[in-house]
């Protein structure tokens, strides 16, 4: 019996060694853990395109602070404080997979791919097309599918290099900024990689991603980038994106204002729910979008009092204002952008059939879109000053 036990233990040890031999395990300080990456493109004159994909990696530094005085034996305290900051590792190559080789040449530690929280794609790269990038990301099983995709103005490297106070890297800052943006502007927060995979392949759906700029010494979320297929076509400023998000998302939160002068306005912080109905008459489609707003009056300097009559008057005025905002945006969408950025094609495809060869962008832009708005006031705060 004893021999059997010894043999078993020996076998287990041997097998463990053979199997774990190829396993690379090292402490995190000896690895380059990446928090974000950017995608830039250099279009050369010969027609070649060079991909530049900088990685932001964490740097784990130790700062040693010596304690004050040395009078008592106890006070010989030396604290080692770990400080996190970040660095950029550059990589340039003619294909995205090859940038990995180039990147490792610029790095002293092994680089882990797939841990990224955000990716910043430069405007130029997005207009060129993100399909190649999505291909390699999708194929990698270790990719963080809940990472966020953003578009940056100018070069992605500049945005990643930008030092933000209090954050280890700008990637962490951007990640927090976009995740928390859903509180206002009717932003839906559906900008993760999973959403990108689904949007690129769904009939009647067009991708929309956050647009970042370095403005006034900080990185700000200034608008939304509109995609047609996998190429970026337009960038919408935040006021227009707000209306688009209102009409596009399943629900959202934002602030709407009735303003009659620099000091007379009402601020209405509302949550919106959307319903879409689709009809087809011969070749022309009709969409009815119902928006249900329910929210609080945050601030009222327009009316002296909010009484019953004022309430319904406010609701009607707000409804008219929102309808006008939506109709203005719809006019622009149909005539200037000519892209179905509200994903109305999805509803039509669900009702009338998929893969029928219909170009939903064209059909939706030639269709009648009607917006019906309902506004309801929920709470009014503590009182009016």
């Amino acid at each position: 019996m004893k021999i059997k036990k010894i043999v078993i233990i020996f076998l287990v040890a041997l097998i463990g060694y053979v199997y774990a031999d190829k396993l690379k395990v090292s402490p995190v300080e000896e690895l380059n853990v990446s928090s974000g990456y950017g995608v830039d493109i250099n279009k050369e004159l010969s027609g070649n395109v060079q991909y530049s994909i900088p990685f932001t990696v964490y740097e784990f530094k130790k700062k040693v602070r010596l304690g004050t005085g040395g009078t008592t034996k106890k006070a010989a305290s030396s604290k080692a404080v770990g400080e996190q900051s970040s660095n950029i590792i550059e990589a340039k190559a003619n294909s995205i997979g090859q940038t990995r080789e180039d990147r490792q040449l610029n790095s002293s530690k092994s680089i882990i791919i797939g841990t990224q929280k955000i990716s910043v794609i430069s405007e130029e790269a997005a207009s060129y097309g993100i399909l190649n990038l999505i291909n390699i990301i999708f194929s990698n099983a270790k990719t963080n599918d809940r990472g966020i995709f953003t578009i940056g103005k100018g070069k992605a490297e500049d945005i990643l290099n930008f030092k933000v106070e209090g954050y280890a890297s700008s990637a962490d800052y951007i990640d927090g900024m976009i995740r928390n943006a859903i509180d206002y502007n009717f932003i839906s927060g559906e900008y993760t990689l999973l959403d990108v995979y689904v949007a690129l392949d769904s009939e009647g759906k067009n991708l929309v991603l956050p647009y970042l700029e370095i403005k006034d010494k900080s990185i700000t979320f200034t608008g939304m980038a509109l995609f047609k297929g996998d190429k970026m076509i337009y960038v919408l400023p935040m006021e227009e994106s707000k209306v688009m998000n209102m009409l596009r998302g399943k629900k959202g939160k934002g602030v709407l204002t009735l303003q009659e002068g620099p000091e007379k306005y009402i601020n209405y912080d509302a949550m919106v729910k959307k319903k879409v109905k689709c009809n087809r008459r011969e070749e022309k489609y009709e969409f009815t979008i119902e928006l249900d707003f329910q929210g609080d009056i945050k601030d009222n300097t327009l009316y002296k009092d909010i009484k019953k009559e004022n309430e319904s008057e406010f609701e009607k005025l707000m409804e008219k204002k929102i309808e006008k905002m939506c109709n203005d945006f719809l006019y622009k969408m149909k005539n200037v952008y000519k892209i179905d950025c509200l994903n109305l094609g999805m509803y039509a495809a669900a009702k009338y059939g998929r893969e029928t060869g219909v170009d939903w962008n064209e059909k939706v832009c030639n269709s009648d879109i009607k917006v019906i708005v309902k506004v309801k006031i929920d709470k009014m705060g503590r009182g009016q000053y």
Partner: protein
């Protein structure tokens, strides 16, 4: 007599064993295959595909009624004669052999992509085959108990997929029946292949503890509904949250769906899911291997299974090494499994007809 009775299967264990022969590695890739033809109606195709195991279940009930103590190996010798019967038994055994190898390769592929890319295939094959041999050596009672645990695990894991519903849109399922009956039918043929394994009931219905009236009926129909329910639910969730196009691109759509479920400490639910699901995958390999060796020892009339294992191990290992990756595996399966399924259906139906004729003749 009591000791022999102890080794028989309880009703729950038999149901679990039957489900365990069907649900295994296939569930992770089933939505992919079905959606290629049936597109957004993949879940309907999966329901229709359930007709195949339903037919086998009904035949099994008939067999058990007429010959409650003789399994199909004995019956084929009785009704088809020694030579033809033995040939059919060998082909029956080959089916389980193919499913064993297919399961092992599938496990290896999934692990090498998602969990342990640093392992070479042979390092995964060897422990898996040894594990399958060890488990199947323990006998059917132990297998039944293991399957019972795995059944609970399967149901719980697939129910957790409910959480991913908040990330999808019901529009992905519409228009229902939009793909047309022909495409749904083709999709259901794909799913019928994933339902393969129901025929194992013919091997072990003599092992039931209680052979009363309607016991086999209860077991098979319960197992059928559980399997159909789980397969349909999984396909439904994949199409709902991903849409049919992404489902047809991913090799393992279910694992992509688990990525969208957020867990606090771990990056995604996929890790936990894969870890627990690997237990289910090992179980089906052990099941299929047990069926294979059971038939083999019956044909060769060898009681001591250990001698068989010495042969089976290297042959299985050699065959597993032949298939290089997932895409190749699915192509080969797509070629072989329809022929096997047709053979099984024909074979079982012919014997059923012969039983019927002999029964009538006796009366």
């Amino acid at each position: 007599m009591d000791k022999a009775k102890k080794n028989l299967l309880e009703e729950n264990e038999a149901t679990a064993l039957l489900v365990g022969f069907i649900i295994g590695t296939g569930i992770l890739s089933l939505p992919n295959g079905v959606v290629q033809y049936a597109k957004q109606d993949g879940w309907i195709a999966v329901i229709i595909g359930g007709l195949h195991p339903l037919y086998i279940a009904l035949l099994a009930i008939y067999y058990a009624k007429k010959h409650p103590n003789q399994n199909i190996l004995v019956l084929s010798n009785i009704y088809l004669g020694r030579i033809l019967g033995t040939i059919c038994n060998i082909l029956f055994m080959v089916e389980f052999g193919i499913f064993t190898i297919e399961g092992i390769i599938s496990v290896s592929n999934i692990f090498r992509v998602y969990a342990t890319p640093f392992l070479t295939p042979i390092k995964i094959f060897i422990p898996t085959i040894l594990l399958a041999i060890y488990l199947s050596d323990k006998g059917i009672k132990v297998l039944g108990k293991i399957n019972k645990i795995c059944l609970y695990l399967t149901v719980i894991l697939t129910l957790v997929l409910l959480v991913s519903l908040k990330n999808g849109s019901y529009l992905n399922l519409f228009p229902i029946f939009g793909t047309g009956v022909k495409n749904i039918f083709n999709g259901s043929i794909e799913s019928a292949l994933a339902y393969g394994g129901m025929e194992s009931i013919f091997l072990f219905y003599p092992f039931l503890k209680e052979k009363g009236k309607g016991k086999v009926k209860k077991i098979t129909l319960k197992a059928l509904f559980i399997t159909m329910g789980i397969y349909t639910w999984v396909t439904f969730v994949c199409i709902y949250s991903l849409g049919y196009k992404v489902t047809s691109i991913t090799l393992w759509p279910v694992l992509l769906v688990t990525e969208s479920i957020n867990l606090q400490a771990l990056n995604s639910f996929r890790i936990v899911f894969l870890f627990l699901w690997s237990i289910v995958m090992f179980k089906i390999i052990a099941n299929e291997h047990y069926a294979f060796t059971y038939i083999l020892s019956d044909i060769l009339k060898i009681k001591d299974k250990n001698k068989l294992y010495w042969f089976i191990f290297p042959i299985t290992l050699y065959l597993c090494m032949g298939i290089k990756n997932e895409v190749q595996r699915r192509a080969i399966l797509g070629y072989m499994v329809p022929k096997i399924t047709l053979f099984i259906i024909a074979y079982i139906s012919i014997i059923a007809i012969l039983i019927f004729i002999k029964d009538k003749a006796r009366k």
